[in-house]
Symmetry: C2
Amino acid sequence: MKRLPPLNALRAFEAAARHKSFTAAASDLFVTHGAVSRQIRQIEEFLGRRLFERLPRGVELTDEGREYAAVVRRAFEQMAEASDAIRTRADEKQILTISTTPRFAVGWLMSRLHLFQRDFPQYGIRISSTTRLVNFERERIDVAIRYGRGNWPGLSVTRLFDHEEVPVCAPALLEGPNALRSPEDLARVRLLHDGSYQYWKSWLEFAGIDNVDPHEGWVMDDPNVMFQAAIQGQGVALSNPRTIETELRDGKLVRPFDIVLATDVAAYAVCPEQNADDPKIRAMIEWLVAQAEAQE
Amino acid sequence: MKRLPPLNALRAFEAAARHKSFTAAASDLFVTHGAVSRQIRQIEEFLGRRLFERLPRGVELTDEGREYAAVVRRAFEQMAEASDAIRTRADEKQILTISTTPRFAVGWLMSRLHLFQRDFPQYGIRISSTTRLVNFERERIDVAIRYGRGNWPGLSVTRLFDHEEVPVCAPALLEGPNALRSPEDLARVRLLHDGSYQYWKSWLEFAGIDNVDPHEGWVMDDPNVMFQAAIQGQGVALSNPRTIETELRDGKLVRPFDIVLATDVAAYAVCPEQNADDPKIRAMIEWLVAQAEAQE
DNA sequence: TATTAATGTGAGTTTTAATCACAGCTATGA
DNA sequence: TCATAGCTGTGATTAAAACTCACATTAATA
C-alpha cells in the first residue's frame, strides 16, 4: 500500500476544509487553533503542496486542496458509517444494567447518561433503582452505585466521590420577615428527614447548634418525595449537593448556609470482581469516574 | 459527521487484517506486537465487538471484522491514492538540487537517495557533483554537502559526521608472502594519494611510523579513480570509512589496521540562510542527518 | 515434556501532540 | 488614517498518547 499521510492531521484537514477556517475547525475538534495550524502544515509538507491559501481573515482551499478534501471526506465517511453500523447494530445489542438508588438516578445519573450513550451507542442501557442491596447475578446487574465505606468483599470497588451533607431549601425561605439567616433560625422552620433523624442530628451537632430539636419535622422514606417537599418550600432538607446539581443550578433549591458535614461514606461504583474486565463494565465505570471528576 | 474510531489504531487493524497476524502487522508498521495488540483492543472497545478470534497460533477475523476490514482498507486506499496523486504530480514538480563531491555522491549519497525519494516522491532530484565551492544562486543549488570546519558565514550549517581517515586496500594485499601485517609493512606497498601527499603524511605521523616515505606512490586528482586503483590492488589509499561503506561491506576493500586518524574537519550540509525554512530543503537536511546518525 | 510461535499486559520511557502566550497580517469601521 | 478585530503562525513548555520491555499465558508441535 502507498504511504499514508499522518491520519490525525488528515482529520484536522478535513475539518478545516469543511469550515474554511482553522479556528472553527479547532473548536470543532476541541483543540486550539495552534494545533490545527501545525497539523495542516504537516499534511502540506507531506504532500509538498499548499492546500490552503492563507488570507488575512481565514483561509481558502486551493484547487488541489478542494479535490483532496473531497476524497478525504468520502473516505472518512465510509469509515464512520461502517463503524457506526457495527456500534449501533440492534440485534444482539449488549445491555448494560446499572443499579442505583432512586435519588442518585434522578439527581445525578439521568442528566449525564445521554453523554455515555453518545460515546457508546453500542450498548443498551437499563436502570434498576432500588435502595436494597442487590444480588448482581440474580438481578443481572452489571454495575451498581452505592453509598458506603467501600468494604464489600468479592466486589471490585471504585470510589466516585465523598458524601457530604449540607442544608437546602426553596429560595422563598430566604425572604420575608421569617427569613433563614443563620443556622439558629432552623428552629423556626420545618426539618425534612430522609428516612431517619440521624442525619440532621449529626449535622446540628457538627454545626454546634443546640436550640434546634433534631426530632422536629417530617420524615419521608423516599428522598425524591423529600426533595419535592423542599422545592415546594415545606422545609429544609439535608442533601449531598452533588445529587441535586440541577435543582441548585435552576434555582429551585438554594443552600442557606455553607456548613458542610463531611461523612465517612462515599459513593462507589461496584461490580463483581470477575466481571471487572468486561469492556462495557469497564467503559461505564471509567465514564462514571470521569463524570465525578468533571463535576468538581 | 459520525464519530470516528482512533485512526492510528485503525491503520494497525488494517495491517493486522491483511496479515492475519499481529506480529506480522507489527513488523510491517515497525512497532512491537504489543503496540498492535493494544491498538486492536482500542478498536474493539470502541466498536463494542470482537474483530478477531484469538487462536493459539495467530488470530482470525470474525465475520464482522472481515466486512469492516474491507471498508477500512478501501477508505485507506482512496486516501493513499489521492495523496500519491498529489505527491507524484509531474507537472510543476519541485526540483531539489544537491551539490556534493563526486566521491561523496558515489560512496554515500547514491546508495541512500532512493530512500529519500520513497518518502518524498513529490520532489525531483538533481545531483551536481564538483569539488569546487559552489555559488548557490547562480548554479541553483538547494543543498550542498561539503567538508570543512563549519564556519561559512551567511550559510545555514548542519553537521553530518566527523571526517576520519583510515588505510584501505584490496583484500589480496593481506595475503601471500608480502602480506600487510603491521603499519611498518606500508614501506613495501604503493601509497595512493588523493590530490596531495598531506593526508598520508598526517596519518603516518599520527601512527608513529617513520620507515615509510609519505611522498612515495601515486597521486590522483579524482578520488573515484583512486579507489578504483585500490580495489584493483594497486596500493593502499586513505579514506573516511563512511564513504566507502559499500566497498567495505562487499569485501572489495578492507581495513588492514584499525588506526583511525581523527581530523578537525567534518561533513556538513549547508544552504543559504534565507532558504533554511524551505520545506524541501528542510526535509533533505533532516533526512541527511537521520541517515548519518543511522550509519553509526 | 520441552519447545516454539503466537497474543496479552503492567510498568516505565519515549515520542508526539497540544497548549499558552505572543507575533504578524490586513480588512473593517470609527 | 489609524486603531481594532479577527485570523493564522510559532517558540517554548506542558500534557497526553503511544511504544517498548520483560514477562505471562496458551496450545500446537517436535
